[in-house]
């Protein structure tokens, strides 16, 4: 068993997941991989199993947070030292996993965020989404005292003790800023590192359609609830 587990949550990613897994095998061969098939109806599970990669299948869609949490519970049960979260749509470069893990070990951070904005990576972000990201980055600074440039990045490396914590506490639906604030306010260390992100190979993002309108309100509510919880439960976890 390797020290590092790559968790890939996937929902209807049959067209992308094969290429993602091939790239992981090629560029991060020292890592174990597990795909959390979050109730896909397009045969994603079959694609993953055909490639001989472990696949945990949800019988129905639990959402991104639910899928990540299943992956974290799997990692906790097997005692991995570091868990790397990667999207199943081909946006994240598996070649950058070793650097993310190395940063986590070197800094002893509990969460390393693979950030598109630490340096100019040329990743195109529509103005409205950029405004939303800026708002949540400001919230993270205001409530956790931490400057995070790319709070919505799903490319992350997580330490064993943060995995144990998040396996129970991982926020559901849209966990971005909520997770960072929760971790910082619970005494975990969060750092950012440059990561290049590509446009998804095919299909549409979970932040598309009417969900774009719902997202900021849900995420803001999540942040407020995290604040209330950490205020009423002031003891640090880490």
């Amino acid at each position: 068993m390797a020290d590092v587990l790559i968790v890939i949550p996937a929902h209807n990613e049959a067209r992308n997941i094969g290429a993602v897994l091939e790239e992981v095998r090629r560029l991060a061969p020292a890592c174990d991989v597990v795909v959390i098939d979050d109730g896909s109806r397009d045969g994603s599970r079959e694609v993953v199993r055909r490639l001989g990669v472990p696949c945990i299948h949800h019988p129905y869609n639990l959402g991104y947070g639910g899928a990540v949490q299943t992956g974290l519970r799997y990692a906790r049960a097997r005692g991995y030292e570091t868990v790397v979260l990667m999207d199943g749509d081909g946006q994240h470069d598996a070649g950058q996993v070793p650097a993310l893990v190395e940063t986590r070990r070197r800094t002893d951070a509990d969460l390393v965020i693979g950030s598109r904005f630490v340096e100019q990576t040329g990743y195109p972000v529509p103005p409205l989404r950029r405004a939303g990201m800026a708002f949540f980055a400001w919230l993270t600074w205001a409530f956790a005292g931490l400057r995070v440039r790319d709070v919505t990045s799903g490319f992350q490396a997580i330490s064993r003790r943060a995995v144990a914590f998040l396996a129970e506490e991982y926020p559901l639906d849209y966990p971005d800023a909520e997770t960072v604030i929760l971790l910082v306010r619970s005494g975990f260390r969060v750092v950012e590192q440059r990561a290049d992100v590509r446009p998804r190979l095919s299909g549409s993002s979970m932040h598309s359609g009417l969900r774009v309108l719902y997202y900021p309100f849900r995420a803001l509510m999540g942040v407020i609830i995290v604040m209330l919880r950490t205020l009423t439960r002031p003891g640090r976890v880490a």
Binding site: P54, I56, H57, P59, L62, G66, T70, R73, Y74, A77
Partner: protein, 129 residues
Amino acid sequence: MSGYNQALICAIAVLFGIFTLDLLRRRRLNVEYGLLWLLLAAGVLIVVGWKGLLFRVTFWMGARQPASILTLLSLAFIFFFLAFLTVQLSTMSSRIRRLTQVVALLEHEVREMKEKQGETADDAKESEM
């Protein structure tokens, strides 16, 4: 409120109580929810059957019509019940999500074990040959 109206509302409350008890008997309703509906039926019987109480409450609350107080109490009950149901629904959702995750993880473990057993059986066959 006329005596006729009073009798009608009381009859409805009694019938509703009997209906709730029957649902409980047939296990179509859990006791925790049934108890709330029975309390509602009892509350209606007390407030409507005991006319003096309704007038007194109307006076205390500064309302002009007893019907306003009945409406207010009904709305309060509906809001309370909806809040109660939302909490129950959220609890159920969390439990189902947790169960789904546990089942998915266990299913994966069973699959892994079966695959390992299959490999062991294949190895045993090969060594026999």
